[in-house]
């Protein structure tokens, strides 16, 4: 009799928990927004986060990094694709000739990225690099996304400058900074060469260490090769340094389009 009562009580507890969970989800739906989304747009200042992290700021940096990756994936895969499907279904200019592969000219995905991800992207990467200045990959991610996805050169340079300050021994940051100076700002060789020298003399790297192309680049500049040949070496080096195959293919498409539009001399 006592055992039966205990079983009934346990079943009652389980039923109460299931009902409570159901009403919790209904309540969230009524609320109309996800607390997840709210959270993303509010991060305290870096100094305060450092204090609140109680010495574990690298772990907090990791958490923010993963959150950002998930948000980026969610924006691209779930929300962006959903909008793409709706646009295709509705018809109209965006629906024609737009595949679900980021097309840098006129893609619904890119529009969505710019609209929804860009405000948080810089903010999050800035905090991550403040909390863990030794974490190299966010600087590189900031450079690539800000320059190639969001077309924001100043923010891209910001991450590279921060990387050069916090990780002076890494070859990538002066190399990419020289890339921006050469291609986007059309700076003379005298401005670009010191960055290449610094890159060649570096002793560490974020992923690949001591590749040959910064040295090849420097030799190309010192021997005053043509801009076409120098451009070729720079782009080749940039592509070789990208580990992610999808990003690499996107970059190849991007440079092909630049070649057609001739908006950048190379």
């Amino acid at each position: 009799m006592k055992n039966v009562r205990i079983i009934i009580l346990w079943l009652l507890v389980i039923l109460l928990l299931v009902l409570a969970d159901y009403f919790r989800s209904v309540s969230l739906q009524e609320r109309g927004f996800s607390p997840e989304q709210e959270m993303l747009y509010r991060l305290p200042p870096a100094e305060l986060m450092n204090v609140l992290a109680l010495g574990f700021s690298p772990v907090v940096a990791d958490y923010l990094w993963i959150k950002l990756i998930l948000k980026t994936g969610q924006s691209l895969v779930l929300e962006g694709y959903q909008e793409h499907l709706e646009a295709e279904h509705a018809g109209g200019e965006h629906a024609h000739g737009v595949a679900f592969v980021p097309d840098w000219k006129d893609s619904v995905i890119v529009h969505y990225l710019e609209k929804n991800l860009e405000p948080v992207f810089f903010h999050y990467l800035d905090r991550i690099t403040d909390l863990d200045p030794q974490f190299a990959y966010p600087y590189i991610t900031g450079f690539t996304f800000e320059l190639f996805h969001f077309k924001n050169r100043e923010k891209s340079k910001y991450f590279l400058q921060k990387g050069m300050r916090n990780l002076p021994d890494y070859w990538e940051f002066p190399f990419y900074y020289g890339f921006i100076a050469y291609f986007y700002e059309q700076q003379p060789d005298s401005v670009v060469i010191p960055y290449l020298v610094r890159s060649v003399n570096a002793t560490k790297g974020a992923r690949v260490f001591n590749p040959d192309y910064p040295k090849t680049m420097l030799q190309a500049f010192l021997h005053k090769l043509s801009r076409e040949k120098i451009s070729y070496f720079y782009i080749q080096g940039l592509l070789e340094s990208i580990g992610d195959e999808q990003l690499k293919n996107q970059m190849i498409q991007y440079f092909k389009q630049l070649q057609d539009s001739q908006s950048v001399r190379y």
Binding site: E47, N50, V51, L52, A53, L54, G55, F56, S57, P58, V59, D62, W65, I66, I69, L70, D132, Q134, F135, Y137, R207, G243, D244
Partner: protein
């Protein structure tokens, strides 16, 4: 010395039988696996994330052991009156306290080494990289927790278990916050003319009493391969020895005067 070692051995055997210890160790393994799962989302930074979460988990587990077992180490013996038995066998109060401290220190050491081996194994299984050097940050976590145990014992003799736990956690938080707060305040220009000057002076004064636990956290340096000088290790060890001795001496003085009735 022999009596102290006997008390330490008894404490070791009692603590190993404590169920809280096994629950805490299970929690540690859970945190390690959480790090592995989260590491898969990190875009090529899996090793770093597993080590970050693993070492932080190890730190938290050691903290739980230090606080929850350390608080009750002496207090329980006083409450249950079993301390009279021990003290009646011509064991001094100093020997008793130090024996208890050493017993828990050994338990904590074994647990940390075991967890470090498990973490190393998991990192090797999932990333192919072994990390024998992980013992360095683990040893510094151990030193930090010895200080926490000493503080927990000190508070448990002065007040009840709940308040002692809260005060120990408060000291832990303050000990970790002090470094970054002082760093931030020292960057403020002409702080003497700002309202922050008084808090700055207070924190600088309190720094002598509350341990600066941030010096023992080496997770970042280990993960990024930043080499620390031998002088740093030497001075940190010196700081640890001096501070621990001071806390244990205070604890012994309080225990000598404590009315056990």
């Amino acid at each position: 010395m022999k009596k102290m070692l006997i008390i330490a051995e008894t404490t070791l055997k009692e603590t190993i039988r404590n169920k809280i210890l096994y629950n805490i160790l299970l929690f540690a393994v859970f945190i390690f696996f959480l790090g592995i799962i989260i590491g898969n989302w990190s875009l090529g930074e899996q090793e770093r994330v597993i080590l970050d979460f693993g070492l932080t988990g190890l730190h938290l587990i050691a903290l739980l052991i230090a606080i929850f077992i350390g608080i009750h180490l002496v207090a329980r013996e006083i409450q249950s009156r079993t301390i009279y038995n021990t003290l009646s066998k011509s064991v001094t109060r100093t020997q008793f306290l130090l024996g208890k401290f050493c017993g828990l220190a050994v338990v904590l050491l074994f647990n940390l080494l075991l967890l470090a081996i498990v973490l190393n194994l998991l990192v090797f299984l999932f990333t192919g990289q072994a990390h024998p050097g992980i013992l360095v940050p683990v040893m510094f976590i151990y030193l930090e927790m010895l200080i926490i145990i000493a503080i927990a014992i000190l508070f448990s003799m002065v007040t009840g278990s709940t308040l002692a736990s809260i005060l120990t956690i408060a000291v832990y938080i303050a000990g970790h916050m002090m470094g970054p707060v002082l760093q931030f305040l020292e960057k403020v220009e002409e702080i003497e003319h700002t309202p922050l000057y008084l808090p700055y002076l207070i924190i600088r004064g309190v720094r002598f009493i509350i341990p600066d636990l941030g010096v023992f956290v080496m997770i970042d340096e280990y993960i990024h391969g930043v080499a620390l000088s031998e002088a740093f290790y030497g001075f940190t060890l010196l700081y640890f020895l001096l501070y621990l001795t001071a806390i244990l001496v205070i604890g012994i003085m309080i225990f000598q005067k404590k009315d056990l009735k």
